[in-house]
């Protein structure tokens, strides 16, 4: 049973790349108020999410065009809660093979690369062991063709053809390569842990 949070407001950045229905539903079930922000001016509260829709290039383009870069750099300096999901995690890094020539936020060292998997995209549930007690280990849902193979901020890995980084953490910055909003109750717990919703 997941403890409902004290009605925190969580803002999801609208990267105009797809469906955030599942993510909104997940947050609402956790008792949160949800805002969807096209621009930084629309952000409410101290908890922000870059959702897992679109490609590296399209997400960075939206973040740039709508004036998010300075805002996000400040947010990170202030060490406020920021969760990146799937491509939302990948943009924390420098670059991605998915979108050559496009620069990421560059907060974490490394380049996102194509996954050497038996099938592409990787689709399904896969075991993650977290190396920190901040998160419960379990089996979340992945759907990706690109991944971070190694990172100093890696706190969980999984394997499909090769081992890659399933999650990263740097203070209150958290990235999940998997989709916690599609990972049943376990995924909801991880969102609550990432955003400190208790």
């Amino acid at each position: 049973m997941i403890e409902p949070s004290k009605a925190y407001t969580v803002t999801i950045i609208d990267t105009k790349a797809g469906n955030i229905f599942s993510l909104k539903a997940c947050l609402q079930r956790l008792g949160c108020e949800v805002m969807v922000a096209k621009t930084p001016a629309q952000v409410v509260g101290d908890r922000l999410i870059i959702p897992g829709q679109g490609h590296f290039g399209s997400v960075m383009q939206q973040l740039t065009t709508e004036g998010w870069l300075n805002f996000l750099n400040q947010w990170k300096s202030d060490d406020k809660y920021l969760l990146g999901i799937c491509v939302g995690m990948q943009v924390f890094f420098e670059q991605s093979e998915e979108s050559p020539g496009v620069l990421g936020l560059g907060w974490l060292d490394g380049k996102v690369k194509k996954l050497n998997s038996p099938k592409q995209p990787m689709v399904g549930w896969s075991s993650c062991q977290f190396s920190t007690a901040s998160f419960e280990s379990g089996m979340p849902y992945f759907v990706n063709s690109y991944a971070i193979k190694e990172s100093q901020q890696c706190i969980a890995t999984t394997s499909y053809g090769e081992t890659f980084c399933a999650a990263v953490k740097l203070n209150n910055l958290v990235g999940f390569q998997f989709h916690p909003e599609k990972s049943s109750h376990y995924g909801s717990k991880l969102v609550a842990q990432a955003l400190n919703l208790s």
Binding site: G18, N19, F21, S22, A25, C26, R29, Q53, G54, H55, P118, K119, Q120, P121, M122, V123, G124, W125, S126, S127, C128, Q129, F130, S131, T132, M139, Y141, F142, V143, N144, S145, Q152, Q153, C154, I155, A156, T157, T158, S159, Y160, G161, E162, T163, K169, L170, N171, E181, K182, S183, S184, H185, G187, S188
Partner: protein, 269 residues
């Protein structure tokens, strides 16, 4: 930058494949009710789609597939409303299909709450839609459903569209290759000659396709017991879809998964 010191490296072991086999219940929905038929005909009412979807998530389903088999334009608003009702209750992936004809239809179902769309007839008649959806929403959003029939074991596979009613003059194997080239994320392969018969999946055909494909292949058609799932996974299916055996209440998904785990198949429990 503060270095995040890790007390110990995550223990994964030598296994380079931790991806589990998926069990996917399918809701064929007609007029707001889940139905079941044999070989695509003679439909029986099996229950409310929202109730069944929630039940399956509780039982450990890895995904839910919802197919609007009425697939007519009058029924579209009802189908969309049901998709939303289900999506609001689910926290596992949700694929929706049934008569999607255009990018606008795909958008409508995704907006209604679907995570992925299944395309069948339209993919065959207008295959460029596969690329269009993959480009707009990502490959992972596109499942191409293929209805194949083999009247006898020796006959060559025949491709069908329009809910299994129209034979298509297109080579089945070439179509499977084309689907991958055009950027689909997964193939849902339904063997019509097994569908609703309870004789088990056609593992020879499905296994061959699954082992050669570069994308995941979901086996469908004929499952009636846990052993059928075991055989399908042993033959190479990445995921298995079933309907009647779960809708009837005869089998629970957690029960099937435990059986699979006991027999060495990696599943999410």
């Amino acid at each position: 930058m503060i270095k995040n010191t890790r007390a110990s490296k995550p223990q994964i072991g030598d296994d380079t494949n931790l991806l589990t086999a998926r069990i996917i219940p399918c809701l064929d929905v007609d007029n707001g009710r889940v139905v079941k038929g044999t070989n695509f005909v003679n439909l029986r009412d099996m229950g409310d789609p929202v109730e069944l979807a929630m039940q399956y998530e509780c039982q450990g389903a890895d995904e839910i597939v919802f197919l609007d088999i009425s697939a007519s334009s009058e029924n579209r608003p009802t189908a969309l409303a049901n998709v939303t009702r289900i999506a609001q209750q689910l926290s596992i992936p949700f694929t929706v299909g049934g008569g999607l004809k255009s990018l606008a239809d795909v958008q409508a179902f995704l907006d209604a709450g679907a995570d992925k769309v299944a395309l069948n007839t339209t993919a065959v008649t207008h295959p460029e839609i596969i690329e269009q959806v993959a480009k707009s929403y990502g490959s992972q959003c596109v499942v191409v459903a293929v209805d194949v029939n083999k009247p006898s074991q020796d006959s060559s596979p025949q491709l069908y569209i329009h809910g299994g009613r129209t034979l298509v003059n297109k080579d089945f194997n070439q179509w499977v290759n084309e689907i991958q080239q055009r950027g689909a994320g997964e193939i849902l392969l339904t063997c019509m000659h097994r569908d609703g018969t309870g004789l088990g999946f056609d593992n020879e055909l499905t296994g061959e396709i699954a082992k050669n494909a570069k994308i995941q292949v979901i086996a469908s058609g004929g499952a009636k017991n846990e052993q059928h799932f075991l055989e399908a996974f042993r033959h190479g299916a990445d995921a298995c879809l079933a309907a009647g055996m779960f809708h009837s209440g005869e089998y629970r998904i957690d029960q099937v998964k435990q059986f699979l785990a006991d027999n060495g198949v990696k599943v999410r429990i």
